[in-house]
Symmetry: C2
């Protein structure tokens, strides 16, 4: 199960009624955060989730609205007596940026391990999840992220019986391990059915639309995507500042055939994103207009 909370939905600057865009994901006792603008720690508190088990913080890019809340959050995690190391993932230069911000948070009771992304696509196994980072197209180096919870196939008892394997070995094979029985090695795939559909969440901001987003978000259960502007005449703005309109996001969602799209990262000038809902829904019906603290539990289908 993945427990998902879109902590905020604003772009550029925080507003009293709209926090900056950030996503928090809980899985099996671990917590991951993507982006951390000014006020993100307050949103975590309002949602009632804990700072202490925050194991991973991913940063999409180094614009202030995506990272300005970091020093405060690190101190608050320290005040919550976290001592386990924290992993931070982001574009090349991450350690330099974080260490520069830490001039006001020099002493922490935990270490930070940095993973700097250098390729257009990277996969990192972390917290029992597959994290995929893919390069998008913004004014500065920026990455989208997939969080993937894979699901093995069903255990095929008939196959195991056919191979003459005693029951005591079944659970090991089911967990993906290999065993040796009567001098012969048996691997997991010999008794497991085809991998079943897992859970995939795609987070994508700030960027122009790209083919890579479509392929990376392909059939995601949840596609969280920027919808900076709603007005048709803002397309030029979107192009200039390397953002996208809600309609462009909907076209990506439609091409990627995602389960559901949540829009986020609204321009501060867009007071009522919902005004554009009908227009977006015409392109991709399974759209929801993101709101601060919108959340969902994503479970395996059966």
């Amino acid at each position: 199960m993945l427990d998902i909370c879109l902590l905020g939905t604003g772009g550029m600057l925080p507003l009293p009624y709209r926090a900056l865009t950030s996503l928090m994901v809980r899985h099996n006792g671990s917590n991951l955060l993507i982006d951390c603008g000014e006020g993100t720690q307050n949103q975590i508190r309002i949602q009632g989730w804990s700072f202490k088990p925050l194991d991973v913080i991913c940063i999409t890019h180094f614009h202030a609205d995506h990272i300005s809340g970091l020093p405060g959050l690190l101190l608050t995690m320290g005040n919550a007596d976290r001592t386990e190391p924290l992993t931070m993932i982001g574009p090349k230069g991450l350690a330099k940026v974080v260490n520069s911000l830490r001039i006001i948070a020099p002493e922490l009771p935990f270490d930070i391990k940095f993973i700097e992304l250098e390729n257009d696509f990277e996969t990192i196994d972390i917290c029992g999840l597959r994290l995929e980072a893919f390069r998008v197209n913004h004014r500065v180096t920026c990455y989208g992220y997939n969080l993937v919870l894979d699901r093995a196939g069903r255990f095929d008892a008939e196959k195991a019986k056919g191979l003459g394997l005693p029951v005591k070995y079944w659970s090991l094979l089911q967990k993906g391990e290999s065993i040796v029985y009567e001098d012969k090695e048996y691997t997991s795939d010999m008794v497991m059915g085809q991998a079943r559909k897992g859970i995939k969440v795609t987070y994508c901001t700030d960027t122009r639309p790209t083919d890579s987003i479509v392929s990376n978000a392909k059939e995601a259960d949840l596609f969280i995507c920027e919808g900076m502007y709603g007005e048709d005449d803002k397309l030029a703005n979107a192009k200039e500042h390397k953002h996208m309109t809600m309609m462009e996001a909907a076209e990506l969602a439609q091409k990627a055939d995602v389960g559901e799209m949540w829009l986020t990262h609204y321009s501060p000038a867009t007071a009522r994103p919902y005004d554009f809902y009908d227009k977006v829904k015409n392109i991709f019906p399974r759209t929801r207009m993101g709101k601060d603290l919108m959340n969902v539990e994503l479970k395996f289908q059966d």
Copy 2:
């Protein structure tokens, strides 16, 4: 007139219902801010005051809860098309700290002029005010600030007539200028009565109580002071972390004979500061428990 707003009243970390301690002062078209923790820009927005005419930002010290909101605020001021230079005042090292934080706000449409405090007491004339910075006693170098609006004495027409000065020179002398009439120099003080009571606001956090605070806050109209803890058994905590209790603040207010004291910078563990009001009032009756966005217009008397 000074227009005063205590933007937040929290210490250590922002809470959903309590922003970090920060003071904004408007005077004659200029705005001054003292301290800028995470979320301060949101409080300015809620108060309905403008970012653009923010001419001076003073920082008491470099702990994150007093400066973490700076990069976001600078960017928001830039987005408001401010181009006039900004003056920043704070302890030695200010430029280094601000420039380090500006790794996420490198491009601004205005210059920042830094004034780094090096002495125990410094006076700076700025925005038509006398700003006094005085060293306090915290774990790191920290300053309290007085904002003083001086008021000249009344113009004494009888004196001017006695000196035989034509009326056309009176207004110049009244404005503090000197004139030459019939080869003789006349200075302002020759026709002005004794300086009248001005307006003085003292802002003081984070610190242990000191004699210097008493002398610097002497007869301030408004004394804004930290009251980190209310419980008697937190005195040891206050001493260890170089903060003060509400009762210690009240003793300072009483000794300095201030007009009114507003308490602020409450510990996040203090959910209801008002619980301690009676105890504090017994020491200094003209105490108000600070609340976010508490504000007042301070005017010259009479």
